[in-house]
Amino acid sequence: MPFLLRRIVFERWDPAVTELDSPLPSDPLADLVTKRGNLSLWLVTDDRLNLDQVITAVAANAGVVSNVPFVMIQHSLLEEHGFRIVESRGNTPLSEAANEHRDVVGLDAARLVDLAELFRRHGEFAEYSEARVRQLLAQAVNGRRLRRQDLKPDVQTHLERRALI
């Protein structure tokens, strides 16, 4: 079964993940900001072969080149817990990845807490380094999968100064 991925900030989740017996702290909720009750997530295939592409899609939309910490959870687990997941277009200049995106829809505050609890107990927390992200972005631009002018100015400058694109 595929996974659903969300970019997060590790520092917000660390006490929650380290101390599973304690009540869920409120900080992780800052990483689950919804729009009209929908939460944006990226779809990662069960063999994870598109993980690099998803991370590139996330990084291509950022204002600076940086590490990408994230949490992944099984798609089926969210469905089992009654979350409704729909296809939606991802906000990224990497057009080939835009369809690898989903929304969890119809969330209210209580369900958002349920979702955060699932992430902390069953999520897989990982991170791509700044260097790896830089490499992925350069590969995408040089492979003509991503237009350099679609990157934010600081990201373009960062890659150009290092003669990567």
Partner: protein
């Protein structure tokens, strides 16, 4: 492997001049905090400090004070909600130029701000990340030792940012310290970050 002893920005404390440099610097931090707007007032306060200590304020101390002022100016404009991976902010935009302009003085000023508890840990953390990522060969060693020193601080957010800064600095000497810290790190995700950074620096 040399055993690391945390010192002032990785160098021995300046005790040779025969006066409490850290005390003077702490007072400078206070003066700068008190006089956030008037530059001339700051200079006058500094002169008073010199008079009160009866000691010449060395060029090095003045440079340090200038670096500290520049840092505080950027920090005041920073919005902590923008301190997220991938988000541009005042610190990410200015840290490299600050490092180039102020050299090692900036590294020492940042450490001083930490020691005197003059900066919110979240702001310090963001500064450490971008201190490591700045491209400037002349300050590389000073930045390296400050970031290593920060790996052993009490605040998890400072340790976490130091790990990212060391990764950005891309100095494989950091792997030893990252692994050493990881062995005693109580926080799970931070431990994973330390181990990953160490692994990537040696691969």
């Amino acid at each position: 492997m040399t055993v690391f002893t945390p010192t002032f920005a990785g160098t021995q404390p300046d005790t040779g001049s025969g006066f409490d440099i850290l005390g003077v610097l702490r007072r400078l931090v206070e003066l700068n905090r008190e006089s956030s707007s008037a530059a001339t007032g700051t200079l006058s306060d500094r002169q008073q400090l010199v008079a009160s200590t009866g000691l010449p304020l060395s060029h090095r101390v003045l440079r340090l004070a200038d670096a500290q002022e520049a840092l505080l100016r950027v920090f005041r404009l920073s919005e902590p909600e923008s301190f997220e991976p991938g988000m541009e902010n005042e610190i990410s935009s200015h840290m490299e130029s600050l490092v180039r302009r102020h050299g090692e003085g900036l590294v020492q000023a940042l450490q001083l701000l930490y020691l005197t508890r003059s900066v919110d840990p979240s702001i310090l953390g963001e500064a450490l990340v971008w201190l490591g990522r700045a491209e400037d060969s002349s300050t590389r060693d000073a930045r390296f030792w400050l970031l290593v020193w920060c790996l052993y601080r009490g605040e998890p957010s400072v340790r976490s940012s130091a790990a990212l800064g060391l990764e950005g600095l891309n100095d494989d000497r950091a792997a030893f310290y990252l692994n050493q810290r990881a062995r005693v790190e109580p926080f799970k995700l931070l431990r994973a970050r330390l181990e990953r950074a160490a692994s990537e620096l040696t691969s």
